[in-house]
Subunit: 421 residues, 2 copies
Amino acid sequence: MPEAKKIAVVGFGNIGSGVVKALREKRVAGLDLVKVIDIDLERKRPVRIPRKMLSPHWQDAVNDPKIDIIVELIGGIEPARTIISRAMEKGKDIVTANKMLLAHQGQTIFSLASTLGRRVGFRASFVGCHSLIHEFQTAGSAAKKFRRIHAILNGTSNYILSTMTRDGKTFDEALKEAQASGLAEADPSDDIDGVDTANKIRILLNLITNSYQTVPDFQIEGIRNVTPQDIQYAGELGYAIKLVGVIEQVGDSIAVGVHPALLPQTSLLGSLQGAYNGTELEDEYGVISGLVAPGAGVYPTTDAVIKDLVDIAEGRPLPMPSSADPLNLGSTQMAERRYYLRFSVLNQAGVLARICDIFWKHNISIAGVIQKEPVSSKFVPVVMTTYMAKEKDMQDAIKAVDRLAVAKAATRLIRILSANT
Amino acid sequence: MPEAKKIAVVGFGNIGSGVVKALREKRVAGLDLVKVIDIDLERKRPVRIPRKMLSPHWQDAVNDPKIDIIVELIGGIEPARTIISRAMEKGKDIVTANKMLLAHQGQTIFSLASTLGRRVGFRASFVGCHSLIHEFQTAGSAAKKFRRIHAILNGTSNYILSTMTRDGKTFDEALKEAQASGLAEADPSDDIDGVDTANKIRILLNLITNSYQTVPDFQIEGIRNVTPQDIQYAGELGYAIKLVGVIEQVGDSIAVGVHPALLPQTSLLGSLQGAYNGTELEDEYGVISGLVAPGAGVYPTTDAVIKDLVDIAEGRPLPMPSSADPLNLGSTQMAERRYYLRFSVLNQAGVLARICDIFWKHNISIAGVIQKEPVSSKFVPVVMTTYMAKEKDMQDAIKAVDRLAVAKAATRLIRILSANT
């Protein structure tokens, strides 16, 4: 049995308290907590530790030669970046839950780790899908390639969409409910506007390509504009609406996006309820694997931190992007998929025919139409689903439809992501 | 870079050909195929290898001091057990896909491996759920315990049940269709009678408890008696019928079983279609993780073999039961769950009241009842679901119901396994 690894936890908030509690009370073999850093040492915590282990200065952890591993749990870019970089330069390994830092400064962190031969464990930054990607990566780049990843990576958004679907609530009502039950923050924009999902997609893309290059900006659309009407139409067609992060091979390059999508109700992702995360990976042979797991929360995040610590203590390699190769990202414009469209058009003879004509000219075939008899309004909602079509053709066609005099509001487009599971 | 590991593949059938092809054509770093053994060297294979690599004698692989790893792909108990044991005694590591051997002689193999310090990779023996269990195990026994595992581990059965559900087919019709499309064997009994699922459950139990003690016999019920009628009633209640392997904590011991079960249609396992496998694990804190993956087939099995080889080559520890501790298995009689019951009773006044009375005396509360108006028959099917009840109480109650003069056939009981995902 090698000597126990000496650990400092930097950031004694909710997750920090969970990690400290686990290390103190579970006494995991090979892990020895020796220092806890936080600028606020007066606040009450759910775990008691000796005063002499505490310090308000992160330098006390980073400069202590006895410490082997720094657990960074303060979040945000600075001082987290400085703490992690200095600690690696001092020969320490790192465990972090810092999505923001890895999504935007991953290059700094991972290139330094590669240069210095240090390990960075970051399971906790995307707890919900880590093991699936890890398992896929194990076979090494020589063995196989992925074809696509579809992932639901934000529990708050999924909870809101689940509530809207189950109870027929509007987005605003469901958001208020999520806030009341503590599942959405007072300022929920990172969650509902897709920013958090996009951060995880950036980390995922780095991990799966093994390149630590910063992912350039890509299209991000959140769930503010998802309406009960669209959820109901989707349901009638056998689909659920979910916020999905997509990484896919398009030709020779990789396209990335975050947006609401229609998923079959009985698929792994389409059936995902509440605050869970789900990831579906299709490999180059069309074999699909999927993982469902909690994506956040004190306990799952704590658990992920402990797993990384155990892996480091037992000498297991941690998956970490280690190459400076370019990411070879392409546009989603050439991606082919199916679409859900809701037109807001005047209730006039010949409207449907004109839409069909525009679609035909853009190489788009219609798979299904729902047009209900209008009750009182002059406007009639027409819903269509298409067969596979190129993103570019679809967007051109919608522009043409929205230019028609009978179009009374912008056409609502939601992508359909079909899976085989 | 350490020297490449020299590998012998024993068993050049479908999976063996897949592994040989992958090692020859993909040229995975660190893996060097040097020998292929099969008693039949004349049959045509989808991959060409030099004649001098081939031998009909497994001893040529086991006794060759240059060979580091034996990949055993012949299946069955003997000579696989002898080959693996001899190879470990000669200092070689093992990769195997042999479910039958590990389920029934795992104790021999794993105790020898522990004694000799050899590694046995067996991802390929339960490809569909390996990574979930591996991830759970990583934190070590000090960190956490499982509460229950529900798993769909047999693709053939799941395909048959999916077909019955989708097309309203009988079991016999769906089985014939599966046989015609190559998804069920001419003698399908291992798959449809739950034997294959039970073998995987045995291996899973060894892995998750870290004990290599042989799992004693437990209750196994296959899918031959699942009727379109039960599938339809289950559907009306929001459930799908699946063949499920169950490992659960009941009090201080672990209960194990394989049987058909009702699962919510929108749950991870309830929505699993076709030949896929799915595993759901709930830990001691109630956190649920789930994995969906192909459970068989040349490609996924080959992939699992390659992953084990890469792990061995790169010096990663492989999960392997390594303790002789007793398994502490208990009876399912004290397990509490919900039940679906279909009674075949005479259409007489007061029958429902008598059933309810029997249930009341056995501490069983009724959650729902479906009794449709009889069309022409004297017998009326009555379907009930219960709230949580002890297995023993439930079975006693059914015995009492089946003794009633109005009972015209044995009551059909199917367990309901509810999940939160």
